[in-house]
Each structure stands twice: as structure tokens, then as C-alpha cells.
Amino acid sequence: MTKKFTKDHEWVQVDGDVATVGVTDFAQSQLGDVVFVELPDAGRVLEKGKEAAVVESVKAASDVYAPVSGTVVEANQSLVDDPSMVNSAAETDGWFFKLQLKDASELDGLMDEAAYKAFVEESH
């Protein structure tokens, strides 16, 4: 399984042709205490780079973008029930949604863990 990262601070973990998407631990630390998430319904077609979900902290609202194109197969209902999981488990149980990949080659343009780490350190 490969895990890739975007410059918008999302992570995507690929298992076969299904990608699990969430926000990174760095992103949750910047957002602060998350109080609400809005996730895409199963069946919705997402386009790479376009708005896919909303995450709201006490202070502000942020968009979560689709790191790759595809069709939503599942949204994380437990995250809707307990949005604080974004803070406590951003890169594990706090995943946002799963996508059926449209074009696996889109993954090639994303960063691996080392590149993402360097990106975060360089830009912040």
C-alpha cells in the first residue's frame, strides 16, 4: 500500500483501486479543534483538485479537496458523529472518505512521505 500527500495537506492511501483520503496530522494541528465535518455521499463523482469535503474548527472553515479523481464508495460516518477524531487520529481512524480511483496515474504527481515532510518544513 502506498501513501501519498498533496500540497493541500491531504493524504491518500491506495489499496488496489480504492483510495482512502484524509487530512494530514500537520493539517489538523493548523486547523485546531475540529467541531464539524461534511463528507461527500457515496456515489458522488469527485474531480482531482476540486472541493470534496468541509472541515470546521472552532475558529474557521476549510475545504478539503479531492487529491485524485474518482467515485466515492464510502464516507467515514464515525467522523461525522465525532469530528474531534480529525485531531486525535488524522492519519488513521480519522479518514474522510474512500474513492474508487478513476486514473491511477494521477497518484504519480503526488508527494511521498519524505517529500511531504520536506514540503511542510520548507513552507512553514
Binding site: G32, D33, V35, F36, E38, V54, E56, S57, V58, K59, A60, A61, P83
Partner: protein
């Protein structure tokens, strides 16, 4: 650091904020702590449950002296300043000739002078306004050698009494000149959270010593501007520049309680004709509390519609209330839709979010009434 960031002013507690791990942001020209490592949610809850220490040194502290500074100030504000007993304080508003609000402020009768606390973003213009309008009547001094902190929460009184025993019996909205670990301080029993507590004015040079002494008490945590905003919003308190500004009168802003009987009858403050007419005939819109349904917050500038989809106003402050356990907001609606319980529709990201006009405060105020 960018050039803009280096040009920011700092408070005497800046180094302490950085040492405590605060996330610093620009606010009203100052580099201020928006949150500490505890985070906004826990800082908010801590203040409601125990006690929080806030650095509000960016705010303007002003001394007004003269033959009759109260009579002079009454020409600029609608509050009863002449009737303010020595050692007591009051919330009032600087108004323009249209009855619009130039700033909101606290006025204390300190005996030989009036002590004013005004908003950081307005302090230069407030001082210029005072100097221009009161040129012959009062001396205006911006006390920029002072720091200001707030200790807020149900345990604030117990903590403060360890340093200033006489603080325990101070009444809400009163003033005390005292000594804190050997240095002079001015305490007022006031704040901006809906909780009991104090504001502490002191010499800049003593601020860090006082802050460290208070933070050394087990009940006290440092609290940033993020939680200050969610605390005041739950308490139903206005934020100048958002919930009230030059386009809103005290009647629009549901602040009639700042217009005492004598001033309503006598006038003598800017915008009196307009405000007097509004008090008799009403206004076209009004500031109200708004309770969105569900958990999604509705932020400032969110459009408000009535049941028919007609735009009737917008949110001026909105967010998540950690103590309320729900989103909370305030905003302006047309007068026909301003009654508590009226159903509203908020347009959040293009989608309708049901809400209702709600009574404020969203959480009970717990001021010390003696």
C-alpha cells in the same frame, strides 16, 4: 518572518506568549496569541470551569481629566457618566452624528479622573476624537505605559484574593486601586467572557511578574484571542467592527440598556434625534442571537433568509460554542423576523441551513453580584 509581521507592535507579555508556545497572529496591529498549546476548545472550557488569564494590553487605556470630565464625556456618549459613583464603571458607546457607533468602551469613575478602556483597533481615532471634541473641556491622555490583563472564570476571585485580599468583595463593575506583590495595580471586576473576573491594569514593567504569578496558580491557564472570541460570543457580547459599527445605532444593535432614562429625556449626545425617534418608532432591523440547527457553524457574513427565501440580513459573528455544545451566532435581521423563536434560513456554502432567532446569552452569565 515577513516584513508585515516585523512591523507589528508587541505587548509587554510577548516574550512570555512565545515561551508558552502560543500561536501568534496579527490582530489590530499587534502580534497576539490566538491560542496556546492547550487549544481554543480546552482554553474556552478551562475559563468556564476554572480561571483563564488573557493579555489585552493591545487595548487602549485613556485618562480623562478636567473640571468636569463626566459632563464633557456625556457630550460624546449616551451613558449616564455624571451619575457614575466613584469607584464604579459602566459600558457605553462613542456615537457619531447619525447615531452610529464609533466604538464601545468601559468608563470608570476613578475619583480625580475618568479611566476609559477602548478597543485596540479604535484607540488612536478615539483619542483624536476625544481631543478634538473635548478640546476646551478635558485633558486626554493615552496611557501607553500601561499593560492590561484579564483574569476570568469561576475561580478568578479565589485566585486573585491570594494576592489582593480586598479583591474578593469587589462588586461587579467596580474599581479598586491596590497592590499586587508590592506593585501598584488597578483592578476592575469586569470582563468579556460572561464569567466573574477582573481586569488588571499595571505598569508595563510589572506585567510579566504579575502574569507569571497568576499563571503559577494551579487553577489558571493562559488563554488566547480565539477562546476570548468564543467566550464573548456565547455570552452574547458584541465585538466592535463586527456586531456593531458606524452603520448601526444602539437601537439597531439591541443596546437600549445603554440609554438611561435621563439621557433619553435630555439628549445632548451625538445622533440623539435619530436615536430618540428610533426609540419611539422602532427601527427596520435588529441584532439578534441566532441558533443554527445541527452542528455546522455559520460564520460572519453568512446570508440570512426568511421562510420565503427573501434575504433579511446577515450573520455578524458566528462559530461553535464549546460550552453551548452547538453552533452559536448573532446577526441582523429585519424587524419582522426578530422575535425569539422565528425560523430563519442561513445560506452556508450555497446550502440552506435551518436556524432560529435565539435569546442571548447562549450560556448563563455568572457575574459577581455580592
Amino acid at each position: 518572518m515577513t516584513e508585515a509581521a516585523t512591523a507589528l507592535k508587541t505587548t509587554p507579555l510577548h516574550a512570555l506568549h512565545v515561551e508558552l508556545g502560543a500561536r501568534m497572529v496579527p490582530f489590530a496591529g499587534y502580534d497576539m496569541p490566538v491560542q496556546y498549546p492547550l487549544g481554543i476548545l480546552k482554553e474556552h472550557q478551562h475559563t468556564r470551569e476554572k480561571a483563564g488569564l488573557f493579555d489585552v494590553s493591545h487595548m487602549g487605556q485613556v485618562r480623562l481629566t478636567g473640571e468636569d470630565p463626566a459632563a464633557a464625556l456625556e457630550t460624546l456618549v449616551p451613558g449616564d457618566i455624571k451619575g457614575l459613583a466613584q469607584g464604579r464603571m459602566r459600558y457605553t458607546l462613542f456615537l457619531n452624528e447619525q447615531g452610529g457607533i464609533l466604538d464601545d468602551l468601559m468608563v470608570t469613575n476613578a475619583g480625580d479622573h475618568l479611566f476609559l478602556v477602548v478597543n485596540a483597533a479604535c484607540k488612536e481615532q478615539d483619542v483624536a476624537h476625544l481631543r478634538e471634541k473635548l478640546a476646551e473641556k478635558a485633558e486626554v491622555e493615552l496611557l501607553d505605559d500601561l499593560a492590561l490583563m484579564a483574569l476570568q472564570g469561576p475561580m478568578a476571585a479565589e485566585v486573585m484574593a491570594r494576592f489582593v485580599p480586598e479583591a474578593a468583595t469587589m462588586k461587579f463593575m467596580s474599581y479598586l486601586s491596590a497592590t499586587f506583590k508590592g506593585v501598584p495595580v488597578i483592578l476592575t471586576r469586569s470582563g468579556y467572557t460572561g464569567e466573574d473576573g477582573y481586569e488588571i491594569s499595571c505598569d508595563k514593567a510589572d506585567a510579566e511578574m504579575i502574569a507569571r504569578a497568576l499563571l503559577g496558580e494551579s487553577e489558571v491557564e493562559a488563554i488566547g484571542l480565539g477562546a476570548r472570541d468564543s467566550l464573548r460570543l456565547e455570552a452574547g457580547l458584541c465585538l466592535y467592527g463586527h456586531d456593531i459599527d458606524t452603520t448601526t445605532t444602539p437601537v439597531d444593535g439591541a443596546l437600549e440598556w445603554t440609554l438611561p432614562k435621563r439621557r433619553r429625556a435630555e439628549g445632548g449626545f451625538p445622533g440623539y434625534d435619530i436615536i430618540h425617534r428610533q426609540l419611539t418608532e422602532g427601527t427596520s432591523r435588529r441584532r439578534v442571537g441566532i441558533q443554527p440547527e445541527g452542528r455546522q457553524p455559520a460564520r460572519e457574513h453568512t446570508e440570512i433568509q426568511d421562510a420565503n427565501g427573501t434575504v433579511i440580513g446577515e450573520i455578524t459573528s458566528g462559530g461553535f460554542g464549546p460550552t453551548a455544545g452547538a453552533p452559536v451566532a448573532m446577526g441582523y435581521v429585519d424587524i419582522a423576523n426578530s422575535a425569539v423563536g422565528t425560523p430563519l434560513t442561513l445560506v452556508v456554502r450555497g446550502k440552506p441551513l435551518p436556524a432560529r432567532v435565539a435569546a442571548t446569552p447562549f450560556v448563563p452569565q455568572r457575574y459577581y453580584r455580592g
